[in-house]
Subunit: 259 residues, 2 copies
Amino acid sequence: MTEIQRPGALYQQVAAAIRGAILSGEFTPDSLLPSEAQLMARYQVSRPTVRNAVAALRAEGLIDVRHGKGSFVRSGSQPALTIERRISRTSDGQFVMPNGDVWTEAEQPSTYRTRTTKTTGHFLALNEEEALFGCDRLLTDPETGTRAMHRTLIPFEVTEGAPALAEEPGKTPAEVYRTLTQAGHKLWWSETVRAHMPMPDERTTLQLPDATPILHLSRVTHGANDRPLILEEFRVGADRAELAYRITADKQTTRRRPA
Amino acid sequence: MTEIQRPGALYQQVAAAIRGAILSGEFTPDSLLPSEAQLMARYQVSRPTVRNAVAALRAEGLIDVRHGKGSFVRSGSQPALTIERRISRTSDGQFVMPNGDVWTEAEQPSTYRTRTTKTTGHFLALNEEEALFGCDRLLTDPETGTRAMHRTLIPFEVTEGAPALAEEPGKTPAEVYRTLTQAGHKLWWSETVRAHMPMPDERTTLQLPDATPILHLSRVTHGANDRPLILEEFRVGADRAELAYRITADKQTTRRRPA
DNA sequence: AGTCGTAACTCGTAAGGACAAGTGACGTCT
DNA sequence: AGACGTCACTTGTCCTTACGAGTTACGACT
């Protein structure tokens, strides 16, 4: 048994002791931790203190607590899904559509109209409050059950150049890309990866466990004159998926966003 | 003032009310929220209930709480740093070294020896418990103060093919790449992006705020015969940096990791 | 004028008690 | 045998009370 140490708050000492016991292997993955009552006796602290310590470990993603059952050591498992983002062209010079072959739509896509925010405007090189077509999808990987949220945003002014886009804002990305290439655009993409904690609605629709961040991929499709045409947002639980890029030669610069 | 609603636990109702007030703009970014005492009076609940609600919003990354001062609405700011990962070669056919021009080393790098874990072994196509050289760096972006952790892992058996590597495990990635190309390797890279919550030591060294996940980039350098040579791990706070990839043509497949 | 202490605010920690609600096993009743 | 109710266990919620500790402003003292 790991003894509690001097420094810091009591609940931090308890948390550190439990954390140490987990990392040292005393508590193995998927095993049941001592109950709150047992931890109270073990460390001679009150229940709020124990709960505070447990909450800290929960926020770190180290344990899972289930009502009526107990606390379990989370297995440090790797994401089951590796989403590969290849760079090279296919042999016939065509590109393969993203999300085409794997994900299935769990619901009917919902289409709507919005306006650019600061963030979406930045990606689309537009000011705020510009009109957009939007389409939200809930995707599921049938094999692993992984869920993902997909959003397509197309500026009104882009649909003017490609009227076919305006007819069906709820098309799949594959169909949209085909429309654009048929309109003479030579496409390229830029993908920006961020991570953040989920909002309550994201946590429920993606069925995220505690302390699970979201991997947030923003993909901008560029056409003629490098004009940004479409913004796609793709969100998955970071416990279920990872993104893999393949790079044949590399140049990295770092750009600072103007304040 | 947003009234609290019926469903769910009391503290959840309070949290939802405050969250609504923030999202609706009643409380603007960087502004001071009502103190715990005021929230107690406002919603007619006890202090633990208020603290529970505040803790929930804190875990969502919606607010920042500072001892002695109060709770502040977090500004939904974008990461200040965009780390661009370009795909195309430079004009002279050379690649530019990553991390060379921007990051400065905050401390002396520490070199050591370890063994592969399940994860690192997977990336390096090695079994577990294979011997590795390791080198850890703490990097800083001098302009924004953003900190990052960098780790280089080189298998022993790779250094046998390139003795220069064994002499100085603490070399910068640029020097290591140069050594490898001089040894006749034609390099390419694969980068895997994951996100997870920080461990306590990561939170302190990266100086992360509450509810801030880590963007975790694993970069594998491949040489002749596509052999994995080097594994680099790069970790930044997701509040400070994002990763940007530029893709000229795209093919995406999704691979499942064997259980 | 400048320094310093104090008071009044803030959140942080800790303890106590009480009851609700989910879970699983065990025994009883049908 | 099967269904069902009860009980003992778990965590979840909520309250009260008390004190520690960081922050700020104001006023008194030097």
